[in-house]
Point group: C2
Chain length 242, copies 2
């Protein structure tokens, strides 16, 4: 029986993979990743491009971008079956995953389904750089400091969720909020927080964009891969209070 390595490959810049992750990625005979859509390479696939060895077999796995539970379960089953057949042949497989592999990752379902199919499957994961950390470094600001509580909302369904989060934590990170941008902007304006909110689109990718001074930006067309960091206490207040 082979072994499955879940390798975090970071947010976009290929050099944000860890030394350990790169080693395991390059040692594997098979490199799996989520298949891109519309014939384009997927994000993890693009990130690992410079690291792939010519003798490695590439194994794109289909994870459809749908909400339907039945379709998702079927896709995980199919992907897990494929991976399992290679593991049963004794192959070592590296699954490349953008960001950190334990942080809102498709890998969770692949690993779960594999272990349901065969409880002997051996899985090891290597942590990595996730988008909130990458965004903070690109902005040149702390993500969190001292006693600040940090809350991460992986997606926004109603703007009230942001209001609740701002009461519960000193730093709030929004992911997948672009459809709600106008409502988010209005709430931040009401709360006087537009000067302590920042957006990074496609952090560390070649087409990264940074939006500061949100006061002048009541509408923005943002990619799905945008991160907003909102701080409810400024660093001066922070220094004084803690």
């Amino acid at each position: 029986m082979g072994k499955l390595y879940g390798v975090s490959v970071g947010t976009g810049d290929p050099e944000l993979i860890t030394v350990k992750g790169l080693k395991l990625l390059q040692q594997a005979t098979i490199v799996a990743f989520p298949e891109g859509i519309q014939g384009k390479p997927g994000i993890a696939e693009r990130i690992i491009q410079p690291w792939l060895q010519s003798h490695q077999m590439l194994l794109p796995l289909k994870f459809p971008y749908v909400q339907d539970d039945q379709q998702l379960t079927q896709a995980w089953q199919a992907a897990a079956q494929t991976v399992l057949s290679y593991l049963q042949n004794g192959e070592e497989i590296a699954f490349a995953c953008e960001g950190d592999i334990r942080f809102y990752s498709t890998f969770t379902y692949l690993a779960q389904t594999l272990q349901e199919l065969d409880s002997h499957v051996e899985i090891e994961t290597v942590p990595g750089v996730c988008s909130p950390m990458a965004a903070a470094s690109e902005l040149g600001i702390p993500l969190s400091a001292r006693s600040q509580r940090l809350m991460i909302l992986p997606a926004l369904y109603h703007v009230e969720e942001l209001e609740t989060a701002l009461q519960a934590a000193e730093v709030v990170v929004l992911m997948k909020f672009s459809a709600f941008y106008s409502q988010v902007w209005e709430l931040l304006q009401q709360k006087g927080l537009l000067d302590s909110a920042w957006i990074v689109e496609k952090a560390t990718m070649p087409d990264q964009a940074i939006y500061e001074n949100l006061r002048d930006r009541d509408s923005l067309q943002l990619s799905y891969f945008s991160i907003m960091i909102v701080q409810t206490a400024t660093s001066n207040q922070l220094r004084a209070n803690c």
Copy 2:
């Protein structure tokens, strides 16, 4: 004028540094890090040991483990002055920081103080692996998935803060909670959450320890460097609900 690179070196395993971070660490003429206490090497210093080049100058900086604002400010001033004098000589300095450099890091104050001393100082930071991600990988569980909100408490001052967090988020990460362990355990027992809580002590360090099945562990002597992950929804509920 030289440049200061803030390099995240990960949580303990030296290979959890990123390829980019390692490159910058090894290219710098001077490698700075927080000085250890009681004559022992500090954590970041231990992590980078295998990567240091014999020609590099080591620059330990004093950051006292105290709460007093005046003492802290004095220490940051002194460290920033030292770093500034080397930068003014045109040196490239890498500051090695355990975990991620924008995530509850001493670097925040060093960078802030430096920029107050001289607004021309150029600073670049490289993100890295933080302890919650490392702990989840070591446990072999997702840190967060799908629509789960994730809340991180950098330190616990009252057990009520955990109670509030458990209402605000589906996953709660506790850092620096060891002094409150018994109270945390009692709260988790009351809420029926002892089976969905895990502890990793010194994640990815040589003396890492994992504590599962907390039901049988109403008291534990834990290191300061312990992480607890509490999930308020099990993965099955998660799969069904989302």
